[in-house]
């Protein structure tokens, strides 16, 4: 009995912990800024009041409640926290490259809250990033949407709990190189990539049916039915078919993009975002009609053959064709200046300020299924905010302060040199790196193919 009490107490404590454990939420009044709301135009000389992590009020001459700090942002620009729909930052590993389908693994299990890259991203105004599995597999692992609450030692605090589940798919050169050419397994061609995905979905339907049959009969009297074997990979694929998971698919060429659109239409899947998608501009009408859009680079091209026929005007063409479009980093370097990457759509295609800003705020929020919570400055939304000294689309703009849930995580006036949270005992003599490793899509794959190890760019 005593033992039982003890267990009960433990359970109660765990429940209590679960209910009370909360990420920090802040309150602040930002005064007199040029507010770039993204969804509701630009508001001059406007105040934004944040309370307990949420945007409480937007207006003129607001006064700070008791104990709430007031920040004078006269002459400065306030925009929503930047959202990166494609990153591998703060993840220990990214490629479970052992099979063409690895839907059973999850990036939520490998978050590294100590990555100083998080702080550097915050210093560039990025508050949310989608941490993706790598691109070695046709169907890769599940990804994770993170809020950059730097300073915590608990990976759980970095997760944006409200965000829906997402998963990585990959087409073209990477999965065919790793499996076809590296291991003599399907897929070796773009035909094989389609077959692997169709086979996976079909298997998941059968798996679902087995469980449905079992569940329908298990309570019947005198039944002899045995449950099917539990399979996390097929569970995950079934969840995709049920619309519970958003696909973010690494892709480059128009034909392969079109292929996956068709596969998903055949299986009734409509939660589909394409990422990289360098030739998306060639199938813009299809992307606009059948998908949740495209998340692209501003100007990366020619680093491999499948991006040789691309254009820096990709984002502009997609936007003008009503495709939900975002610009992502896929890099620990670019994630520090996505505001500049977005501005490149003004040079390459003449997008308006509002269009350009939507590429790194509300549009990636839509693609991650979190646009009701973040991605614009609106009352009731989460207070992820950045203050810039200049208009953020200017090359001379410097981020001044970055807030997540109303808590200030970066302040240029209070910026110590060394922002590491811990120093590894093996790094007491700190290494200096000649080449920063900033592209990670194929990270770790060199273990599987010697060829891949020689690649400099391997997105």
């Amino acid at each position: 009995m005593k033992k039982f009490n003890y267990i009960l107490l433990c359970v109660l404590l765990l429940v209590a912990n679960g209910l009370t454990a909360q990420t920090p939420k802040g309150s602040v009044l930002i005064k007199n800024a040029t507010v770039l709301t993204v969804t509701q135009g630009t508001l001059e000389e406007t105040d934004v009041l944040v309370q307990d992590g949420l945007i409480k009020k937007i207006g003129k001459d607001l006064s700070a409640p008791k104990n709430v700090e007031s920040i004078d942002a006269t002459g400065k620009f306030l925009m929503p926290g930047i959202i990166d729909a494609h990153s591998h930052l703060a993840l220990d590993v990214v490629n479970e490259a052992t099979a063409p389908i690895t839907a059973q693994v999850s990036m939520a299990d490998v978050i590294n809250p100590f990555d100083v890259g998080i702080y550097r991203a915050l210093a560039g105004g990025t508050t949310i990033a989608h941490g993706l599995h790598g691109s070695a597999n046709a169907i890769g692992g599940q990804s994770i949407t993170m809020k950059y609450r730097y300073g915590t030692h608990d990976p759980e605090d970095i997760i944006m709990k409200e965000a829906p589940r997402t998963i990585k798919f990959a087409l073209g050169e990477n999965p065919t190189r790793v499996h076809g050419r590296g291991k003599n397994l399907q897929p070796r061609t773009r035909m094989g990539v389609e077959a692997v995905i169709r086979n996976g979905f079909a298997e998941a339907i059968q798996y679902k049916k087995q469980w449905e049959t079992y569940n329908a009969s298990k309570d019947k009297k005198n039944n002899t039915i045995t449950p099917p074997e539990y399979n996390l990979k097929l569970e995950t694929l079934a969840d995709i078919l049920d619309g519970e998971i958003i696909i973010h698919c690494h892709s480059y060429r128009a034909d392969e993009i079109y292929m996956l659109i068709n596969v998903c239409r055949d299986f009734g899947v409509d939660k589909l975002v394409f990422t990289h998608v360098n030739e998306g501009f060639k199938v813009a009408p299809e992307l606009a009609k059948y998908t949740m859009g495209a998340s692209v680079f501003s100007d990366w091209w020619a680093y491999k053959f499948e991006v040789y026929y691309s254009t820096a005007y990709n984002a502009a063409i997609l936007m003008e064709n009503d495709v939900i479009t975002s610009i992502n980093s896929d890099s620990g370097e670019l994630i520090r200046h996505l505001y500049h990457e977005a501005a490149k759509t003004q040079r390459y295609g003449g997008l308006t300020d509002e269009q350009a800003l939507s590429l790194i705020t509300i549009n990636p929020a839509k693609q991650l299924g979190i646009d009701d919570l973040v991605g614009s400055i609106e009352e009731g939304k989460q207070a992820d905010l950045v203050i810039f000294d200049n208009h953020p689309l200017s090359v001379y703009a410097i981020p001044q302060m970055t807030f997540v849930d109303g808590v200030k995580y970066f302040d240029i006036n209070d910026d110590e040199d060394d922002q590491r949270l811990k120093v590894s005992p093996t790094q007491m003599v700190e290494p200096v790196y000649l080449q920063a490793e900033d592209e990670r899509c194929m990270h770790g794959v060199e273990l599987f193919t010697e060829e891949a190890a020689n690649f400099t760019h391997t997105h």
Binding site: P285, A302, K344, Y396, E430, V432, A436
Partner: protein, 433 residues
């Protein structure tokens, strides 16, 4: 009735230029030579201030005249009212023309086999028809240094203008021999050597370089004494460096390595030396300034080399060195995205270098470092007509580059990126055929 016909004819005639504006079937746009009068521009000369409402006359590849209300018969007039003329931007370190598709070995021509191959000529391998070249030059970057990579002495770099059908037509008058200075840093996170091994490797490489230098000096002395020498192309090239005919471009990044490199350059009495890379230059800016050595640094848009560094270490590096008195030029170290040079300069400007110095760092300063400032780097009479016209500050992201001239040739403002935009902005057929 006749009157109506006439009106229709006139209307049709007026429509002709509009109809033909979009696209002429089979039309090929070529660079165009000749005489050009650029009128009414704000001329940012870089060396002689900013001239308002000024004309620039281009003839025989040169800037013939700069002044007010110029007139010239037979010159094609380019209306630059409200626009700005800048000297072409120079990227002081790239792989331009040496690689077409990054991951494809068949298209990589920047790294030869061997550790000591200074005789490998970048100019030979530069592909004048690379798709990258038009993509780059429409951004106002007109001139790039193409640099081989690899071992201790990977080859000979070449300064090229981004117009021409043969490497010789492109050559802009400077060659330099890069040397990868032995380093105590890690080459990347994949570099898992122990600290001891790194030191050992660096020492070995240093000894190797010392011996090579000694050998090259001997080779030069024998050459000067007109001794009969066996064919030794590597030494022939290094002897040119020892003699000071060619500049030695010392690639060095870690603070400690920079100090060692400066010491080595002094010891060996290297005649013409340039420090390149220099990503930790800000830590030893005073020492670099005292050495008087010029610096080519970049990319500016880079992650700091140490985890403990401030987030903006790479952004602010150029500014800190310049303020300490170092002569600083910028590079992207890119191939397909050399067009980002103005944005690298913009970031350097914002983080301490300032707009004026940043502009110099991509125009007159590299021209001086490369010894071609009689031809490039500023808008002055007699210099090459290598310049561009923009509707604003060329570092500002949204600015549009309107025209580019290279050696007096008016460059067609198109590239594959632009042609794809033109074709696919409104695809036909769209969703339904």
């Amino acid at each position: 009735m006749r009157k109506i016909n006439l009106i229709i004819y006139i209307v049709l005639l007026l429509l002709v230029p509009i109809l033909s504006y979009g696209q002429i079937e089979g039309e090929v746009l070529k660079p165009e030579g000749g005489k050009f009068l650029l009128t009414g521009a704000t001329v940012v000369t870089v060396t002689n201030g900013v001239l308002e409402a000024t004309d620039v006359l281009i003839s025989e590849g040169k800037i013939q005249q700069i002044g007010k209300n110029l007139s010239a018969s037979e010159a094609t007039v380019v209306d630059c009212n409200g626009h700005f003329i800048y000297p072409g931007m120079i990227d002081s370190g790239t792989r331009m023309g040496l690689v077409e598709v990054g991951s494809l070995a068949e298209t990589q021509d920047y790294a030869e086999i061997g550790n000591v191959t200074p005789n490998m000529q970048a100019l030979t391998a530069i592909n004048p028809n690379s798709v990258v070249i038009p993509v780059t030059r429409v951004s106002g970057v007109t001139t790039t240094l193409s640099v081989p990579a690899g071992g201790l002495f990977p080859g000979t770099s070449a300064l090229i203008n981004l117009n021409g059908y043969t490497p010789d037509q492109m050559f802009a008058g400077f060659k330099g021999v890069p040397m990868n200075f032995p380093t105590l840093a890690r080459r990347g996170r994949w570099d898992r050597r122990s600290d001891e091994d790194i030191e050992k490797d660096a020492k070995k490489a240093m000894k190797n370089i010392d011996e090579l230098w000694e050998k090259a000096s001997t080779y030069m002395k024998l050459e000067d004494a007109e001794a009969e020498l066996t064919y030794y192309p590597e030494m022939e090239q290094l002897a040119k460096v020892v003699r000071g005919e060619l500049a030695l471009m010392v690639e060095v990044n870690k603070a400690e390595d920079i100090k060692n490199a400066i010491k080595w350059i002094k010891e060996k009495e290297v005649q013409k030396a340039i420090l390149t890379g220099v990503s930790e230059g800000y830590r030893v800016a005073k020492e670099i300034a005292e050495s008087g050595l010029p610096v080519i640094t970049g990319p500016v848009l880079a992650i700091p080399s140490r985890d403990s560094d401030r987030y903006d270490a790479a952004y602010s590096n150029a500014g800190k060195m310049q303020k300490a008195g170092v002569k600083v030029a910028l590079r992207t170290n890119e191939a397909e995205n050399v067009r980002n040079l103005p944005f690298n300069a913009g970031f350097a400007a914002a983080y301490g270098l300032g707009k004026e110095e940043a502009l110099k760092a991509v125009t007159i300063v590299p021209a001086e470092i490369f010894g071609v400032d009689d031809k490039l780097g500023s808008i002055e009479e007699g210099k090459n007509a290598t310049l561009f016209i923009a509707d604003g500050d060329p570092f500002e992201t949204k600015t549009q580059i309107k025209h580019v001239f290279i050696d007096g040739y008016k460059i067609p403002m198109t590239s594959r990126h632009i042609r794809l935009y033109q074709e696919f902005l409104e695809r036909n057929p769209g969703l339904e055929k």
